[in-house]
Amino acid sequence: MAFTGNFMCTSFKKELLEAKHDFTAAGDLFLIALYTNSATFDASTTTAVFGGGNNEVADSGSYYSGGPTVANVLSNNNLTNAAPSSSGTTGFSSFTTKTFTSATITARGALIYNSQAEGGTTDTNTVCVLDFGADKTSTSGDFQIVFPANNASDALIRIA
């Protein structure tokens, strides 16, 4: 079991057509969960899973495990939506840099999921699987995830 690359989840593509995801600044609350390389996710991953039994990394610093039913996850693992935009024939959106502080974490990848996709506040509908390419480790320090520039050729989410 291991991360095998980046994937846009197929369920997310379907849910885009069902208007379940709002990436505007005041839109849905997207969250990120970090996992060890024992996790196995791909395009067929429809819902985020949590906790050590599912290979999520443990609480450390400002990172909290356990998913959106944990209040600290909602307030600490949240991503800030970069406003959707377009250029040429491509629509795109992304997130701003996320930093978990004072954290001792080793993670190989992440899931981004939408906690409000079904109209609730604790939903777990996946958006994409991110493979960091190698284990990344912070030790009593910062664990920072820098998303690509929000433009038509680099943005994390692009519809062409």
């Binding site: 980046n6 846009m8 974490i105 993670a107 910062d142 920072q144 995830i145 690509p148 989410i157 519809i159």
Partner: protein, 98 residues
């Protein structure tokens, strides 16, 4: 029929993960990321324009570093006074000397 493509490259590393060991990021490290977000200089740009753009980028980075250091210093003053007010003068002095 209209066909949209919503995919991401499977085998590229899309996000840049940066970590630190027993410290936070320095103003210099953050400023570099900051200017990289604000400005990109095309490798295909005319050499004279590219040189000018890179010089401006370096200048911008230095300005950001300077202001970030001022912000940190100013915030330490705020923290110092909060700790003094809370009755922790030794801790306040420790923060001030960082």
């Amino acid at each position: 029929m209209f066909e949209f493509s919503v995919n991401m490259p499977k085998d590229s590393v899309l996000v840049d993960v940066k970590t630190t060991n027993k410290r936070g990021f320095t103003p210099e490290e953050i400023a570099k990321d900051c200017v990289d977000k604000i400005m990109t200089v095309s490798n295909n740009a005319h050499p004279a324009i590219r040189e000018q753009a890179n010089a401006f980028k370096n200048s911008m980075e230095n300005v950001i570093v300077d202001h970030m250091k001022q912000a940190i210093s100013s915030d330490r003053t705020t923290v110092y006074n909060a700790l003094i007010d809370a009755g922790h003068p030794k801790l306040a002095e420790l923060i001030r000397r960082l």
